[in-house]
Structures are given as C-alpha cells and as structure tokens.
C-alpha cells in the first residue's frame, strides 16, 4: 500500500515538474521605446507558449552595466539563459567558451535550417566564430552620414549630390566653413566604431585576422589620422568628446556620421532640412556593423537552452523582426521582413531609411571582437584624442607608440 502511494506521489511530482513551464531568462540593455517593443514580443511569446515556456526579460542597464552584472553572475555560476551583449565586448566570453553554438539547434531543426538563408548573410557572418554560430542579430545598425541641406545650399553646394569620398567631404567643408566662424563642415568625436571605420576606409588595418598582431601603424592609418587632424587644425572640422547631440541639432554642422538608429530621432528634432547618405569612403568601401546581438550561455541546463532556442526563433521571426524594426528604426535581421509591405512602405515614403540596407549588402563587416580588444580599443581612443585635441601633435609618432603598446597587450593575452 505504502509503495503504491509513494509511486503515485512520485509520478505526480514528475508530472508536475513537466507541467511547470521551463523558465528562460534574458538580460537586455535597451531603454525607452526599444525596451517596450522587446517586452511586447516577450509577452506575445509567453502567451503563445503558456504552460510550456516562460521568458523573463530583465533590464540590465547600459551595455557596460550589463557586463558588470554578467561578470558577477559568471563568477557566482548564475548566468542567465540569454543576454544581449555589444559586439566589441564579447571577446573573452567567446575565447572562454561561455557561449552556446547555435548550429547544434539548427542542425536538428530542419525547418529552421532551410530558412537560414533568409537572414542577411553579413549578419550571420558577423556572428560566426571558430566555435560556431554564437549570436543572433537583434539591434543592428550601420553608420550613415547626415547632412544639413540648408547649409549646403547656402554654401552653393548641391545637397542632392553629397560628398562620396573623404576628399570630397574636405572640399565641401572648406566651402561651408566660409559661411561663418561658428559653422563647421564635419563633426566627429571618439565613437569607437567610427574610429575603426576611418582606418579601414583609408585602407588601413587594426589587428590581424587571428587577433595576435597589431597592424595599426601603417602609412594608410597615418594618412587617415593626418586627414582628420588637418581638418581640425584648419578649423573646418570640429572635434569634441561631449555635446555631439546638441551640436548636431544646432544647425551649425553640415555633415556628421551617426548610427542609422538616430535617423528617426534626428528627423523628429532637427529644425533644418535633414539629408542622409551612405558613409563616405576613400580607398575602400567598408562600414562596421554596430549594435548588439543575443547570445546563449552554454552552461545552462539542456531543457532551458532548448526553450531559449524556441524564443530566439520567435524573436527573429519575419513578423517580429519587422515589428521591431518598425518601432525602433533598427534594421530587420531577415530579408523577408525587409521585403514585407510595411517595411517597404517606409522606404518608399522616405528613401533615407533604405540607405542602411544598401550599406549592409555592399560593405558592412564585423567590428574587431578579440579578447584583449577592449583594452586595445581604449588605447586607440586615447591616442586619437591626443592628436585631435592638440592638432599640432605628430600623428606618426603617436601611432608608432600606440602600435608598440597595444602589441604588448596582445602578447600578454595570448
């Protein structure tokens, strides 16, 4: 009798355990409207999977705050199932094998595997590492050049034919500068992904493919940095580490490069005629992919990871990536979403929104991600600041020193 009772209890407990929904935790670093849209998608998913899977989305502050929370969790063995992490910060997680290879799920999921081609190939490439496909694109963007068309007209330039190379940016800036001492041709600061873009576009490189060798000290990079320094020295470019947003809206800047994600905000708040075009090039046509991807932690239990996989598929489904893109201005991660009537309509109404996709197809690449890159990157920023804040400083010497110091960081790591 007692045995039967125990058996019944056991079966009941097992049944209950199966009945309880699998809990998936996702950490995200989005605010405002971005956060709201993400939470809506999560709520839809939970409704659909009621009783089976429950996703809990946890707001974790900025990208950097999220890193702090992740590190504490990692040390305590308490990581979430999924986390949204910015591209340039993931290196040591990748090297340490913290992320799950999503190909394992894709292999078993023939239906999804057939659809993999529907993702923008450059997004998939950007998330593919030696360890496999580690991330899924969520909020991705490329940099665009925004133009104050009023200033262009005043200076006698054609706003419909904006500069396509940096040499042309320089020439246009010179003409715009003549409008007054408070007016500048091009504004730039220390945005990390743009620093990388400038170097690449002038034909330079930062780190070798395997991440072990610095390549930054080259005639191409020296040339690139000299170009921007010259603009600052002559007062036709403006360099600043703060107040960029205010300057851009003030109507005194003719050209600036910012994320595609800023397009909606600038359209809403700029009081001048705002134009947009693809980022200028020089030697090479290349732009970085900015933003963050969603990663899964390999140390979580199998059932939880499988549930998280279901959610990842839902999050990046055609309908949801279209919804996300419509609400936030970020890019869709799938071609079918891009081709959907809602997204197409935006671009017919305002062709400025199509530019980022053009760049994505033609020239977008992954930013450096290597383990020691955050430190190397901080060194690059600092060197950049020193030659832009003091435009008489010798670029060649600074870059040479930077190259040496950064190589030491790489050597220590590997």
């Amino acid at each position: 009798m007692r045995k039967i009772l125990l058996a019944v209890l056991f079966i009941a407990a097992v049944a209950l355990a199966f009945a309880a929904p699998v809990k998936v935790t996702m950490w995200y670093a989005q605010t405002g409207i971005y956060s709201q849209t993400l939470l809506d998608i999560v709520a839809d998913f939970n409704k659909l999977q009621e009783g089976k899977i429950e996703v809990e989305a946890v707001y974790t502050g900025s990208y950097q705050d999220t890193m702090q929370k992740l590190l504490a969790a990692l040390v305590a063995g308490d990581v979430p199932t999924l986390a949204q992490i910015e591209q340039a910060r993931i290196g040591q997680f990748v090297d340490g094998g913290a992320f799950q290879d999503l190909n394992e799920f894709i292999k078993k999921d023939t239906e999804f595997a057939a659809m993999l081609d529907d993702f923008w190939p450059r997004f998939i490439a950007a998330n593919t590492y030696e360890q496999g496909l580690l991330g899924f694109p969520l909020n991705c963007s490329t940099p665009l050049m925004y133009i104050n068309r009023d200033l262009f007209k005043q200076a006698g330039l054609d706003p419909d034919n904006p500069p396509k190379t940096w040499t042309e940016v320089y020439a246009a800036s010179k003409q715009i500068k003549a409008l007054g001492p408070d007016i500048f041709g091009y504004r730039f600061g220390i945005d990390d992904w743009l620093l990388e873009a400038y170097i690449w576009q002038f034909g330079g490189q930062i780190i070798s493919e395997d991440g072990t060798k610095m390549l930054i000290y080259s005639p191409e990079t020296v040339n690139a940095w000299n170009f921007f320094q010259k603009g600052v020295r002559e007062g036709i470019f403006i360099f600043g580490t703060t107040g960029g947003n205010e300057l851009d809206l003030s109507g005194r800047i003719a050209m600036v490069v910012r994320s595609t994600g800023s397009l909606g905000y600038l359209i809403q708040n700029a009081k001048f005629d705002l134009g947009a075009t693809i980022m200028p090039m020089q030697e090479k046509l290349v732009v970085p992919i900015g933003g963050a991807n969603v990663f899964m932690f390999s140390s979580r239990p199998k059932a939880e990871k499988e549930a998280a996989w279901e959610f990842l598929k839902f999050l990046t489904s055609t309908a949801n990536t279209a919804k996300w893109s419509l609400a936030t201005g970020y890019m869709t991660s799938r071609i079918s979403a891009f081709e959907s009537p809602e997204i197409q309509k935006i671009m017919t109404d305002d062709p400025r929104f199509a530019l980022t996709y053009q760049q994505l197809r033609d020239s977008a690449v992954r930013r450096p991600w290597y383990g020691p890159y955050p430190e190397v990157h901080a060194m690059i920023t600092s060197a950049w600041e020193s030659v832009m804040a003091d435009p008489t400083k010798d670029v060649d010497a600074v870059l040479k020193q930077l190259h040496k110091d950064a190589q030491r960081v790489l050597d220590d790591y590997y």
């Binding site: 405002g32 702090q68 590190l71 504490a72």
Partner: protein, 276 residues
C-alpha cells in the same frame, strides 16, 4: 541678548548668501527648466532659462512608461530599513571605539577607515557570490543586510561622541550606571544632530544606489528608483527633456524631505548649560 548689526551689513550678507545659493543651483535650475521644455526648445543659443510654455507632458509620459510610484515605495522601504539598522549598529560601534579602550582598538579603527577607500566596484563581485550562497538574489535582504552598518557612519558618530565631555559620564559611573545606560541616557540624547546627519546621509546614499540593485534585483516590480529612471537618464538616443523630467522626479522627494528635517539636526540641541 546680542544686538543685531547694521541693516546695510545684514542686507549685504543676505544678498551674498542668495547669490551663492543661486549660482550653486544653476545646474539644478537648468534641469528643472529643461524638464518642462519641448525637445526642440531645449537647444537654443543663447540658452533660455524660461520655457515658453510649461509642458507637463514629459512627467506624464515618464510616469506612464515606468511604474515610478512603485519604485518610490520600494526605495523608501529599503533606504529606511538600512537607515534604522545603521542607527543602531553604528552608534553602538562608534561608542565602543570612542570610549572603551581595548587591545587593538586603534587598529580596528584604522582598518575600518581603510575599508572606506576600497571602491564598491571591487567588493561587488565577492559580495554577489556571498549573497548568492545565502539565496538572497532578487530579495530585499540582499539590499539591506550587507549594509546594516557602515564605516562612514561609525566614523562620523565616533568623532561626535569624542566631543562629548567625559565628566558627564564619569558622574554617572560613580552613581553606578551601566555602560548601556550611559549610552542610552546620556550619549544618545546629546548626539541628536550627529544621528540626524548620519541618518540623512545613509538614506541619501541608498536612495541614490544604482549598481548594486541593478546587479542583485531581477524582478522589475521590485526594482529601486535609480535603476528605474536610468531607462531615461542614460541611453544615448533618449530625449533630453524626458531625462530631465525623470531626474527631477527622483530628486524632488529628497529635497522636500530635507527641507522639513534640516531644522532637526542643526537646531536640535544646545549643550551649553551642561558644561559647567
């Protein structure tokens, strides 16, 4: 009593104080004004100090988008609990360090002050591991228990306790009063300004706490106010005016609170009559 100085001197002093007070508050005034502006009016040259219209929509929107009132209640609870616990533990520890000589008491004190120097960012990870072991993640215990006492509070109270004349206690000791009794009946009543000051600073520190709650609390409904408003305060594409509205919301309760209690700890006591 003493005579008042000449009216000219008085006016000069008041004007001077007023001038400095306004100067020091320019950033705050700026924040307040901006919170009422529309986004495009926020950037003008020269900067304008008066919004053309008072636009309350930023506040309404802030309250709509996040449960601000819930955050205020949560944070009040945690900050008050920490403050009350610190009042008890800090004052006891401070009294011990101020009055009781024991072997190594000065070393204990030095180490205590040394810990003030260790940035919280460093201790955060080990603290998280401990809190996790106790199973307190996502609970208020994690926000309260580790902060039941603080080196800052102990140090502050010790300094004040040391300023209290020893003769007062000596008389009580001769009368056979216990240490605890002396502490409760003599030291505590005489230290009201210091206790108020410590409470205010403790409350303030925990009201403004951001990183630790972000790390240990996962449930959005349980979150603290600074994390709640950070969705507006930080983030690079957020609207300026919304940022300022949210910041104002987080600051105003404390300003009002301070206005009502400040009298307590600066005019609370005069020990003049006791010193003869």
């Amino acid at each position: 009593m003493r005579k008042k100085p000449h009216i000219v001197l008085r006016t000069t002093v008041i004007l001077l104080v007023l001038f400095v007070a306004i100067l020091i508050n320019l950033p705050f005034i700026w924040m307040l004004v901006t919170s009422f502006k529309t986004e495009d009016a926020a950037f003008t040259i020269p900067p304008s100090f008066l919004p053309t219209i008072f636009d309350f929509r930023n506040f309404v929107k802030a309250f709509e988008l996040i449960p601000l009132s819930q955050y205020v209640v949560n944070t009040l609870f945690v900050a008050l609990a920490v403050t009350l616990l610190q009042l008890v533990f800090n004052s006891l520890a401070a009294y011990g360090l101020a009055r009781i000589r024991f072997k190594g008491s000065s070393i204990v004190f030095m180490v205590l002050i040394g810990t003030l120097m260790v940035p919280p960012e460093v201790t955060m990870v080990p603290l998280y591991v401990i809190v996790k072991q106790f199973g307190w993640i996502n609970q208020y215990k994690a926000l309260i228990v580790p902060f039941m006492s603080s080196a800052f509070g102990i140090f502050l109270l010790r300094q004040f306790f040391m300023g209290i004349p020893r003769e007062l206690e000596e008389a009580a000791i001769i009368d056979g009063a216990s240490r605890m009794r002396i502490f409760l009946k003599i030291i505590i009543p005489l230290s009201k300004p210091a206790l108020y000051t410590m409470s205010l600073y403790t409350f303030l520190a925990h009201w403004n706490e951001y990183m630790w709650p972000l790390i240990v609390i996962n449930d959005a409904k349980k979150q603290m106010i600074q994390v709640g408003i950070s969705q507006f305060v930080s983030g690079w594409e957020t609207q300026w005016t919304m940022r300022m509205a949210a910041s104002t919301t987080a600051v105003l309760p404390i300003i009002v609170f301070f206005f009502f209690v400040q009298r307590q700890f600066v005019e609370g006591i005069s020990i003049s009559g006791l010193k003869e």
